[in-house]
Every structure is written in structure tokens, then in C-alpha cells.
């Protein structure tokens, strides 16, 4: 029925709006470059986020979407005058859709030398399992 279809479309639009992210802080939004690799037990994400202190990092995982947000404060003191500017301090943010089921309790995050290392262990049911084929 036409009305039903209409309703379905509306809920979807509403959800799309709800998931559209917007920065809460004013300032520039930066996309950190990442490496993502996977082994039998876990998915590991490495992200370059120079200038982000551990207290200013947020990692969020829900509905299969992983979002990392880190705020890098400008190092320049107010009485300094800019001579050359090639980068800007701001908020690093990136989201990924994870296809594997992740064991949320076991997520490990370390931030060292401006690089975030995030280890997302796979939940037991998502690990590859050998299936023996019996010949009769």
C-alpha cells in the first residue's frame, strides 16, 4: 500500500538524519590517515593523530559503526605570530562500518607518539572455524 511505503521511507530518512555526525566543537574537522589490518583473532586500526592527548580521545562503537574522535589543541601560544602555516590544529574524526562481530569488552586502545592503535578482538562466534568434511 502506498501509505505503508511512505511510512517506511520516513523512518529511514529520520534515521539518516540521526546518524549524520556534526562536530560539537567549533573548528576544523580533519581526517586521519589509517591502516587497518585483520588477523585470525582481531582487527587492528592504526590512526595518525598528532597532537592528541590521551584525555582528548573518544572511541565509540555502536550498531557496528566505529567512530574515533580526537581533539588536538593548537601548540602556538597567543603571543606567537605565524610565519608559515602548513597544518591546522583541529578535531580528528573518522567512522568505519565493521562487518565482523566485535567483542566490545576486550577492545584495547593505546595512544603513543600521536598514533592511535586500536585492537578490536573478534567475538568467538565470528572467528573462523574449521569444518571437517567427512567422507563416507
Amino acid at each position: 500500500m502506498a501509505t505503508d511505503k511512505n511510512q517506511g521511507l520516513q523512518t529511514r530518512e529520520a534515521r539518516d538524519i540521526a546518524t549524520t555526525t556534526e562536530a560539537t566543537r567549533p573548528g576544523v574537522l580533519l581526517t586521519p590517515p589509517v591502516d587497518i589490518f585483520e588477523d585470525a583473532d582481531a582487527i587492528t586500526v592504526l590512526a595518525d593523530m598528532p597532537g592528541v592527548e590521551p584525555g582528548h580521545l573518544k572511541i565509540d562503537l555502536h550498531d557496528g559503526v566505529l567512530t574515533i574522535t580526537g581533539h588536538a589543541a593548537a601548540r602556538e601560544v597567543s603571543n606567537e605570530v605565524t610565519v608559515l602555516q602548513e597544518y591546522r590544529a583541529g578535531t580528528f574524526q573518522r567512522s568505519f562500518t565493521l562487518s565482523e562481530a566485535i567483542d566490545q569488552e576486550q577492545i584495547q586502545a593505546t595512544l603513543k607518539q600521536g598514533v592511535l592503535r586500536l585492537r578490536l578482538p573478534k567475538a568467538a562466534r565470528a572467528k573462523p572455524r574449521q569444518i571437517r568434511i567427512q567422507t563416507g
Binding site: A23, P26, V28, L29, L30, P33, V34, D35, I36, F37, E38, D39, A40, I43, T44, L46, D48, M49, P50, G51, V52, E53, R75, E76, V77, N79, E80, V81, T82, V83, L84, Q85, E86, Y87, R88, G90, K112, Q113, G114, V115
Partner: protein, 152 residues
């Protein structure tokens, strides 16, 4: 390997184009405030990106070099030029399959010429949170000095 010299200044005098550089920076920051998205510096292909600023006493050079051991960084000073070089290597994970590999790696080398001389013997370097900060003190003669005007 990326090598680039940046020397937008003529020594002694500030370049006549410096006003345009400032204007361009202002325009970019205005655009960013309107759109909320930064202009992509990686498009410039320069690694590491550097900011240079100054105050009364020193020049400050801040370079974004995430994920490197401080021992792997070489900083050298010749006249008005500072050079930063090193190698960034991510250890390849064994038995892992890569979904994405965007982080740059390999050897890099960059030099920046400052608009005026600095005291090369007192340069201070510090590496925190993936940012290399160099403090280059200005020589006494280059610091602004107050001159008293005498009345007869």
C-alpha cells in the same frame, strides 16, 4: 623521499608578497570556518607538514611526525636553515591481511629557511604526542630593544 626547500623570504627584508600569504591564510581560515572542513595539506605532498611562528625571543618550528622514535629523528642547523630527516616504518604485521594502508612511510627529509638568523648553538628540540617542536632562540642583536629618546 620527499625533499623540498621552503624559502619564501629574502633575507633582511620581509618579502613584498608576505601580505598576500597572510591574506591567503585568512581566506582559507574563513572558508574553513564556513564549511568546517580543512583544506587537505597532504595534497601538497610535503612531509612532515610544518608550522613556523615567532615571538620576541625565538622562532618555533612545529612538525607533525606521528609514530617515530625520537632517536630516529635527525635535526641539523646550517646558517638560517634547519633540516629535519628520518625514516618512518610501520612494522609489517605477520599473517595479517590489510584492508587499508593510508599512513605514509619511508624516508623523509625537509629543510626550512627562516627569515632571520638564530642562535644555532642553543636550539632546543622536543618530541611530544607526535609533534616535533624546535625552539630557535634569536640572537641578542635581533631582539627588539627599547631606545630612550632624550630631550635636551
Amino acid at each position: 623521499m620527499i625533499v623540498r626547500h621552503v624559502s619564501p623570504w629574502s633575507p633582511g627584508w620581509s618579502a613584498p608578497t608576505s601580505n598576500f600569504a597572510q591574506m591567503r591564510r585568512d581566506m582559507e581560515s574563513l572558508m574553513e570556518r564556513l564549511t568546517g572542513v580543512a583544506t587537505d595539506e597532504s595534497a601538497a605532498g610535503v612531509f612532515p607538514p610544518m608550522n613556523v611562528s615567532e615571538d620576541r625571543d625565538s622562532y618555533y618550528v612545529r612538525a607533525l611526525i606521528p609514530g617515530i622514535d625520537a632517536a630516529q629523528l635527525n635535526v641539523s642547523v646550517v646558517h638560517q636553515t634547519i633540516a629535519v630527516s628520518g625514516t618512518r616504518q610501520s612494522p609489517e604485521e605477520e599473517g595479517a591481511s590489510y584492508h587499508r594502508k593510508e599512513r605514509a612511510e619511508g624516508a623523509f627529509s625537509r629543510s626550512v629557511t627562516l627569515p632571520a638568523s638564530f642562535d644555532g648553538g642553543r636550539v632546543h628540540a622536543k618530541y611530544v604526542d607526535g609533534i616535533l617542536t624546535l625552539t630557535l632562540p634569536k640572537p641578542e642583536a635581533a631582539k627588539p630593544r627599547r631606545v630612550t629618546v632624550q630631550t635636551s
